[in-house]
Amino acid sequence: MNTVSAANAKPASSTKSPVQSVSWIVPGIHCAACTRSIEKALQKHVDVIDVRTNLADRRVWVAYRDGGNTESVEKAIRDVGFEVVSGDESPVAGFAAERKALLSRLGVAGIGMMQVMMFALANYVASPDGLDEAYEALFRWAGLAVASPIAIFSAMPFYSNALRDLRSGQPGMDLPVSIAILSAFILSLYNTVAGAGEVYFDTVSMFAFFLLAGRYLELLARHRYQADQALMTHLLPERATLKSGDEVAVAMLRLGDEVAVSPGELIASDGVITSGSASIDESALTGESLPVFKTKGSQVFAGTTNSDGTLTVRVETEPDRFVVRELARLYRNSSTYRPAFMSLSDVVARYFVVTVLAIALLTGVGWWLAGSDRWFVIALTVLVVSCPCALSLATPVAYTIALSTLRKLGLLVANGAFLERIARVSQVFLDKTGTLTAGNLSLQEVRLENGERREHVLAMAKALQRSSHHPVARAFDDIDSSLEVIEPEVFPGRGVGGRIGDAVCFMGQVDGLTPPGPTGLWAAMTCDGHLVAWFRFEDRLRGATSELLADFKSLGKKLCVVTGDTSASGRAMLEALGPGEVHIGQKPEQKAQLVAARQSEGEYVLMVGDGVNDTLAMATADTSIAVRPADISVQDAADAVLLHSDIRIIGDVCRYGTRIRQIIRQNMMWAVAYNLLALPLAVSGFLVPWMAALGMSASSLLVVANSNRLLRPG
């Protein structure tokens, strides 16, 4: 008799990381110098293992030792001069305050700027003899009166940021800007009191206005994306009603509690429906707008909406491990990803500021020696015109927008590197069961061996499948079983096993046993090594599959379908669609080996799968997408998770990835070109101050606007 050889199979376990991590939103971050000084300060902290920051949405993510103290890390950030908002709370409240403060400053600068221009006009249009002393003095003092609130109140953010940057040794663009505004104002103040010389109040006002306007628009754009992220964690209700009628806080739910859900209510917990049936709106989680009908035995998720039925749901997951929370965590972490070349541009940004200060000084001195009376104004222009901020913003903004757009399509990117990698894919590996097929396996046939009875065998199968997340388990949903499995064990890619009564039983793929029929997905059941029954399942290809394969072909990607299914009809089905290569009967290691073989031929591989038996191939492949996985551990293994089952969008995602790369390239080229062009123009005196301020703001806004093109998924 054939014996079960499962010795070299590993049980499924979720890959929980041993370190703790926490993230905050730091609203004060606005340039690479800020992120750099925070990173430096945190890396010195004894409990901190890793620090990552995201410039575009002002997030700081810290991995710290078990038992470490997050308050002291928070304090470290505050010590550098930055206020901290908890990353888990809704940042929306903080937005309003930030926006109002900036808007009042901007408004004062705008109104003031217009008045100052009126007063300055007098001197510009005066006859060649100039104005009489008295009138000139009048307009000087008037200009001073209006420019003072601007220089002191409106421009204050620039000064405080510059001071903070100086103290931490990481000079940012606010330093040259502050020097420009302050020096212009102080010189003008002195000349006003002394009664002679030029005044530059119009320059001061225009600098303040245009630069603040740029910051304000950036703030609006940023708040929009952050609001997106905040939505994800606020899908859960605070309280839930138990079947017994008691109300309890969602955080206090325990495994096995039965929660009552009325029509229209949000489902409070991940779990299984124990009574009732309803259409469930899962769009908050998956982006799929069509409601899904669920009934007794179906799995439901916290954060989804019960549209029209009355349900009782048994809690099957701890509240802090709800899928919606896991997804939010993955999403937040992915936004702190920074590609390698970013550190280079950060270094450039740092030295840039010092260089600009030096160039401005030399320019001013040079023109003064040349006898020009515009030497001061030209130096100011040089200080303000250059903008390394565009360079630092180029990538983070694009990534943040891309992550949010993909999320709306239903693709949750868990690893930020996915955005770079998806553009380079040349070969796609597809798993069949659950990915290309609908994953609703139905039990078609039971062949009994060894004199077993059908009901007994079905009951054993149901008992064993309780611990499995494989689509095969769903085929037994309608069967009740009172049998208990002691020490259940899941063998990824093979099946499930455990002890029922006195016998050690296994159900799944057994080495050395060939299925009795040529068609369909077969699983064997053995007890104590003796074959007890064969089960035949059938699954259907998703309608979208042929579209997806055609799409990949038109994109020029090579295809390969791998599956653990041993059915010849499965192969025939797939070959009819013409994917190019089909491998059936593949165990997880073999799938991974196929991937590695293609990689050694120079292909860049994307693996698309859904089940636990794909995780090895996913880890081997260059990047991976998990399609509607039932198990959290698969979500950890894949670079991105498709939350619904419309696999057609994977082709669109590949095209989108190429666009991301294009737009980042455009951003960086613009950032470099602008500086190379603007600095020489400023040094040679061709630019006037308002052009410089406008240029600096426009430069970073252009990068943000260009990245906004990524809001369109198609």
């Binding site: 808007l103 408004g107 008045q115 007063f119 008037a142 009166a145």
Partner: protein, 51 residues
Amino acid sequence: MEVIFLLVPISLVIVMGSLWAFVWAVRHDQFDDLERESWRIILDEDEGSEQ
């Protein structure tokens, strides 16, 4: 033309007034929802003026 020595300071007072008004408006959320007030006349309020 000497009157300008009076007019400019007056205009400064007005400008300061407008600056103060602007900051007041922002602090009191006047710019937050620009549509809501235009709808107020149509929305059904329980405390109506008809009695």
